[in-house]
Amino acid sequence: MSDASAGMLDHAPHFNSAAHEKRAAQMGMWLFLVNEVLLFAGLFTAFFMYRFMYTDTFRYLAFVELDWVMGTVNTGVLLASSFTVVLAVQAARAHKSNQVGLWLLATIGFAGVFLVIKYFEYTHKIHEGLLPGSYFSYDLSESIARVKGDPVKMSHIADANINLNNVGNGAPMFFTLYFFITGLHGIHVLIGMGLLGWMAKRAFNGEFARRNDTPIELSGMYWHLVDLIWIYVYPMLYLL
């Protein structure tokens, strides 16, 4: 064994050095993230397949029922949280454990804001009877009638080239996929918050002042992925 060359950092006995261990940890995390991407890729495939089948319905519902302002604000919030995670990783590299903790708390704060906004979006939709399955009580024709009475919305619909005659089938599909995709992403946000919270606790214990920065870096990678998935979900659901 070449313990002497590994420096002062701790490492597990089956690795040669802390750098070796870090390389392995990063690779493991990358592989895990590949698997996460594929999980969502399956859902995106399903979404685009149904969007192709029911194009006008999907576009109409995205326009009428999804609040793009909330979606955009949430995108900004998540981008900001990614930035604070980067700062946490920077601090960890400089072995400033307390700073790491603070930046992580800021990240968790942003994540919390994201979930609160999501909560308002969800309650509004559940109130409208958009929860799919047996709770689904949405009256599409009433919605269309309402939109037809609103000249501003009608001009938007004309601009977007949505044919109201074709809006009909596929409404349950849209909301099933909406809730499934955002719900699964939301679960990932929650898991990320738990992970970052644990890291913050370790940071305030001063652990990253003397140890390597691998745990923070890995948590950061996970959080970036959660952010990245939203970057795809947001235009797919709200803007297309």
Binding site: G28, L31, G42, T45, M49, Y54, S134, M173
Partner: protein, 558 residues
């Protein structure tokens, strides 16, 4: 390998089995060898459970009419059999047990890259298994292991816990894949280049890649079907605008590569066993390693051959048919190379070798019937008949179980330091082999006759062959019990095996049997390729290179 100091002969005083004997020392161990043994016990139990259900099915099918159970129970039992065998036995069996035990030994590492994750993976698997078994016990499911919508989303049985169990087991499989891939990339001993990697390691590596890339999709499918069954989303229900074929596409996108998760490690085992017992490096190392990766890769693009008569377009059927043929070509390459490995060898016909030959037999017939099924027009007749059942049992049970048993008999002395009776081992192997053929050859013929699968009752014409099949199943069950007795007897009063009872030059034999807690007393240096039994001709370039690397290795050692 001349660079290695002599190993402790006989049974070592200290080894991984006796370093802590309390329950806690096992339950909290992060040693890959102990985790492998925990997997072994668990998968043997799930195999027993699945086997009992198989026997119940065969007994029911003795008579054309109702026999020992009603239709609903029959539908549940065949679902139980499939789900347990596929998700709880076959997928974790070879990677979980032999991958865990042998991978670090074969690359000269002290452990896998993430030992704690490894233990967690085992518990996640057990949790998923308990979840599934609990669901199966409480009402069960009657959908078959394929969970085709819209049947699975409208049935009254409890699909949700079973699906969540399958999801959890899938998560465990993904993490195992991540762990093994990272281990191969980062923990190879000095001198072990990619070109020298033992073929079992290549097989585990290919398997791990499939696990990471394919399993998330089945995870998603199980979640979607569970949500649909639980809340009635209607995603696969045509009455609400959904598409049932989407479910089949997503399902087979995972479940076909899953077949390769099962078969690739078994192929790796066979490569090792044939090399050891023929005393030759495998014939065409690069072709064998390459075809392993080829199967892993092409395996992702063949799922549509499960849907030849489902209503997909003729063009799609053609594309999936051609790609499926490529898997057949890769497999054929492997078979030829294995056979020719014996050429100019020094063959010793021991129990593991018999299992390897059994594997060849099953892969030839399983593979050729697979080719026949991919000839699209023939699939019209055979699709969803007993022919398909017999085909995938030849591949998934014949080949995979032969590979599993070959591994068990080959590495048993390494794992436990004891040797079983070769004569009894051979006898038990013959029972399994004969029992298997008597069970499944009649099923090929039943498929030819046109008997659809998952049939509770059947017309009188199918009776004779069904009775034969049931008789074979009894023989097969007896064979498995026989093996268990032989091995348990060996554990209790077998002879001491010594570090290398097969005189193998595989890397894993460079340590005591059973291995030390940390695998090796000193970091091994891989000078020769594994299984280098051949005489290096004097004066050749190869001989000079060998001398040079040997000198470097010796230097590194100091």
């Amino acid at each position: 390998m001349s660079t290695h100091t002599a190993l402790e002969e006989g049974f070592p005083a200290k080894h991984f089995l006796n370093q802590g004997t309390t329950f806690k020392s096992w339950a909290t161990t992060i040693d890959h060898k102990r985790i492998a043994l925990m997997y072994l016990v668990t998968v043997l139990f799930t195999f027993f459970l699945g086997g009992v259900f198989a026997l119940l099915l065969r007994i029911e099918l003795l008579t054309p009419g109702p026999g020992i159970m009603d239709a609903q129970s029959y539908n549940r039992v065949f679902s139980l059999h499939g789900i347990i065998m596929v998700f709880l036995f076959m997928i974790p069996a070879v990677p979980g047990v032999f991958g865990n035990f042998m991978l670090p030994l074969m690359i000269g590492a002290k452990d896998v890259a993430f030992p704690k994750l490894n233990l967690a993976t085992y518990y996640i698997y057990v949790l998923g298994a308990l979840f599934a078994v609990w669901g199966l016990w409480n009402g069960g499911v009657d959908t078959g292991w394929t969970f085709y919508a819209p049947y699975s989303t409208t049935t009254a049985t409890k699909v949700v816990p079973v699906l969540l169990g399958a999801f959890t087991v899938g998560m465990s499989s993904i993490l195992t894949g991540v762990n093994f891939m990272t281990t191969v990339h980062t923990l190879r001993a000095p001198g072990l280049t990619w070109g020298k990697l033992p073929l079992f390691v290549w097989a585990i590596y290919g398997t791990a890649a499939v696990q990471v890339l394919a399993t998330p999709v089945i995870g998603l499918v199980t979640l979607l079907v569970a949500a649909e069954a639980g809340f009635g989303f209607g995603l696969f229900d045509p009455a609400r605008g959904g598409d049932p074929l989407l479910m089949q596409h997503l399902f087979w996108f995972y479940s076909h590569p899953a077949v390769y998760i099962m078969i690739l490690p078994a192929m790796g085992v066979v490569s090792e066993v044939i090399a050891t017992f023929s005393r030759r490096q495998v014939f065409g190392y690069k072709m064998l390693a390459g075809s392993t990766l080829g199967i892993a890769l092409v395996g992702f693009f063949v799922w549509g051959h499960h849907l030849f008569v489902s209503g997909q377009s003729t063009f799609n059927a053609g594309v999936f048919g051609v790609l499926t043929m490529l898997v057949g070509v890769f497999t054929a390459i492997k078979v030829f190379n294995w056979v020719l490995t014996m050429y100019k060898g020094a063959i010793d016909f021991k129990t593991p070798f018999l299992y390897a030959m059994g594997f060849l037999y099953f892969i030839i017939f399983g593979g050729m019937t697979g080719i026949a099924l991919a000839v699209v027009s023939l699939d019209i007749h055979w699709h969803d008949t007993y022919f398909v059942v017999a085909h995938f049992h030849f591949v998934m049970v014949g080949s995979v179980v032969m590979g599993f048993l070959a591994a068990l008999h080959y590495w048993f002395p390494k794992m436990f330091g004891k040797m079983y009776s070769d004569r009894w081992g051979l006898a038990a192997a013959l029972f399994v082999f004969i029992g298997f053929n008597v069970t499944f050859i009649p099923q090929f013929l039943l498929g030819n006759m046109g008997m659809p699968r998952r049939y509770y009752q059947y017309p009188e014409v199918f009776r004779t062959l069904n009775v034969m099949s049931t008789a074979g199943a009894g023989l097969l069950g007896f064979g498995f019990a026989f093996i268990l007795i032989v091995l348990v007897v060996a554990l209790i009063k077998g002879k001491v095996a010594g570090p290398n009872p097969w005189f193998s030059k595989g890397y894993e034999w460079n340590t005591t049997s059973p291995p030390d807690m940390h695998n090796f007393h000193e970091v091994p240096v891989m000078v020769d390729a594994p299984h280098a039994y051949e005489k290096v001709p004097e004066g050749t370039l190869a001989a000079q290179e060998a001398a040079k690397t040997e000198a470097e290795g010796a230097h590194h050692h100091v």
